[in-house]
């Protein structure tokens, strides 16, 4: 940095190592490490390759959505239709291929186009009506949920896609979205790589591109951003489309990993995405957060969820453990971040 002002008497002290601690992710990172160490120490499987494979798989799809939702939240909006979107896109591909015999790749593209369209509608509705996105996307959520159930039922007479694996070229799509690589004795699913890629791209966009700058500004202070010349409409609509696109990606990952998708897939997940983003340091009020943080939030969520199973604790208490651990993780996160700020 050319602008370092190391010799300013008004700054207490500074060091390159402690500078790292300024990043908003640091707290979530420490929390993730603590949780990893905890489960690694108390259970035998957690830290093995097959064990890690499992919790990584669980975290990956949630993580992709959490990152997209984090971008949207930094931009000051919510998308409650994000969960239902994962089911919606999967169902479209399933119905088009198993029932209508459409080429699988064509179906995948149709599904992407529809997802982006829904995202576009969300964005335009929010911007044009001035209604809170919480309520607009809630509407879309309900509509998607209705279509998922009634549409699927009407078209294929079932509430879940069946016989997906017999569709021609299924294997080629599965290679991209549903395969798993054996690394050190544990299966690493394609979704994990997608997760890493999405997180890396989102981080780069947020911190190193104009778009990223605009996202922070529209979430932080929309009027100010508009006054200073940021294209608020474009930025926000783009964010809604990104979230919808991520929903499509996760829909594909789910479909081709499990070879099926049901009409209620993803319903209720939208809040888990928000939770992961907040655990990772995003503000509910917008303008602050990080993509890596959201990914770590999903990792924490995934590890805790599976870790509790590994621990063999009474399963009825699952939710209580989950609550205590999440709260603990966030408290630790906050504590670390505050310490980091004063100590940098």
């Amino acid at each position: 940095m050319t602008t370092a002002t190391v010799t300013d008497e008004r700054i207490a002290r500074t060091s390159t190592v402690t500078k790292l601690l300024k990043r908003p992710e640091i707290g979530a990172l420490v929390a993730a490490i603590v949780i990893f160490v905890f489960f690694a120490a108390t259970t035998s499987v957690f830290a093995t390759a097959p064990g890690a494979s499992t919790w990584l798989r669980g975290a990956s799809t949630i993580g992709i959505m959490a990152v997209a939702v984090a971008l949207l939240m930094i931009g000051g909006e919510f998308d409650l239709s994000a969960g239902a979107m994962t089911g919606f896109t999967g169902l479209i591909v399933g119905v088009l291929t198993t029932e209508y015999g459409l080429n699988i790749w064509a179906a995948i593209l149709v599904s992407l186009a529809l997802a982006l369209l829904v995202g576009f509608i969300n964005g335009v509705l929010v911007m044009k009506t001035g209604l809170p996105s919480f309520i607009v996307t809630l509407g879309t959520f309900f509509v998607l949920q209705g279509i998922d159930l009634a549409g699927t039922k009407a078209l294929i007479g079932q509430v879940a896609i069946q016989g997906m694996s017999n569709v021609p070229y299924y294997d080629s799509a599965k290679k991209v979205f549903g395969s798993a690589a054996d690394i050190g004795g544990g299966l690493v699913y394609a979704s994990v790589f997608w997760w890493l890629a999405v997180t890396a791209i989102a981080t780069w966009v947020l911190l190193r591109t104009r778009t990223g700058n605009w996202i922070f500004s529209v979430g932080g202070q929309q009027t100010a951003a508009r006054q200073i010349g940021v294209p608020v409409f474009k930025t926000k609509v783009g964010l809604f489309m990104t979230t919808a696109g991520a929903g499509w990606l996760v829909g594909m990952l789910l479909l081709f990993t499990t070879s099926t998708v049901q009409s209620n897939t993803g319903v209720g997940q939208e809040f888990i995405y928000i939770i992961c983003a907040v655990v990772g340091g995003c503000l509910m009020t917008g303008g602050y957060g990080s993509a890596i943080g959201a990914a770590l939030g999903a990792l924490i969520y995934g590890m805790v969820n599976q870790g509790i199973v590994y621990s063999g604790w009474d399963n009825n208490w699952l939710k209580a453990f989950l609550g205590v651990m999440l709260l603990g993780a966030v408290l630790l996160n906050e504590w670390v971040r505050k310490r980091a700020e004063t100590a940098r």
């Binding site: 049901q262 009409s263 997940q269 969820n305």
Partner: protein, 302 residues
């Protein structure tokens, strides 16, 4: 226990009246089991030329509101599933008092008489669960997990409890997030990895059996999979031997027979079952009889 005094008017103008029946269950929308109940009821409605209105809510307070609403709507009969009989008592009794014939399906066999319903069709979760437990016991299962896809759901809890009662050995419940198949699969994998002694996975919906099969494969476990309820993929897995068996509670029958009972009451004053419950199942689908069922499962009716 016949409460059919109010039905006389129904029989009187059979010829012209368009009957309307309400089917009110505690199933979650999109749940495969309840979807088949709905299909059965609607098919019966179509066959008999009567109107069937299906609605559902898992919360007993809301379900009782739906019953009250149907009574206010002056329907000609109500089919209701009573997972939590206490919660519906007042509403069902009110419906009966208002002269609306009521038939209970699926659960509530202990209470239907007290509440004044004509009959009960189906079998409790307990009967199905016990049957599964017995069959697993016969198959040598000693250590099973029972996968619950919706925390706190009364019906699912009962199924697992009943399995445990008859199977002997160890049966542990496993809560999963039913709206995320990826997570379901991952959670079952974790469980199988951490407790290698598990020899059986019982799932409570056809969908989750598929997830369990892939989890068994991923974890390298030797556990067998048994499931409640059917789907096309489940039957194919049964044929392939990756699922041991499925217990079919024949939900379609519960819906179809429920409406049939009301229809008979309306046109002919019949109280089918004569005050005794009628069992709709269970039927076991194994490798032996899978082929015969495949066609129906593909239709979404089994």
């Amino acid at each position: 226990a016949c409460s059919g005094t109010g039905s006389d008017s129904g029989t009187a103008d059979t010829a012209k009246k368009d009957y309307t029946y309400a089917v009110i269950t505690h199933g979650a929308p999109g749940d495969a089991f309840w979807d088949r109940v709905k299909s059965g009821a609607e098919q019966a409605g179509k066959d008999y030329g009567v109107k069937v209105e299906y609605s559902s809510d898992a919360d007993p307070a809301k379900q009782s509101q739906l019953i009250d609403g149907a009574v206010a709507d002056k329907v000609d009969g109500i089919v209701v599933s009573m997972a939590n009989p206490d919660g519906l008592e007042a509403s069902v009794k009110k419906a009966v008092a208002a002269g609306v014939p009521v038939i209970t399906i699926n659960s509530g066999v202990d209470k239907f008489k007290d509440f004044g319903a004509i009959t009960h069709i189906g079998q409790t979760e307990t009967i199905a669960g016990q049957a599964v437990g017995e069959k697993l016991k016969a198959d040598g299962s000693k250590n099973a997990i029972c996968v619950i896809q919706e925390a706190g759901n009364v019906g699912l809890e009962e199924r697992c409890k009943a399995v445990a009662e008859t199977m002997g050995g160890k049966v542990e419940n496993l809560q999963v997030d039913g709206t995320d198949d990826n997570a379901v699969s991952a959670t079952i994998t974790s469980k199988l990895q951490s407790e290698t002694g598990i020899d059986t996975v019982v799932t409570l919906g056809g969908q989750y059996a598929i997830d369990a099969v892939s989890a068994v494969k991923d974890s390298g476990s030797k556990a067998k999979v048994a499931t409640f309820d059917l789907s096309e993929d489940v039957i194919k897995d049964i044929q392939a031997g990756t699922i041991l068996f499925a217990v079919d509670q024949q939900p379609y029958v519960q819906g179809f027979m429920g409406v049939t009972g009301l229809y008979l009451k309306s046109i002919n004053g019949n109280d089918i079952g004569g005050g005794q419950p009628i069992n709709s199942g269970p039927a076991f689908i194994t490798k032996e009889n899978a082929d015969a069922v495949l066609k129906f499962a593909a239709n979404g009716t089994r």
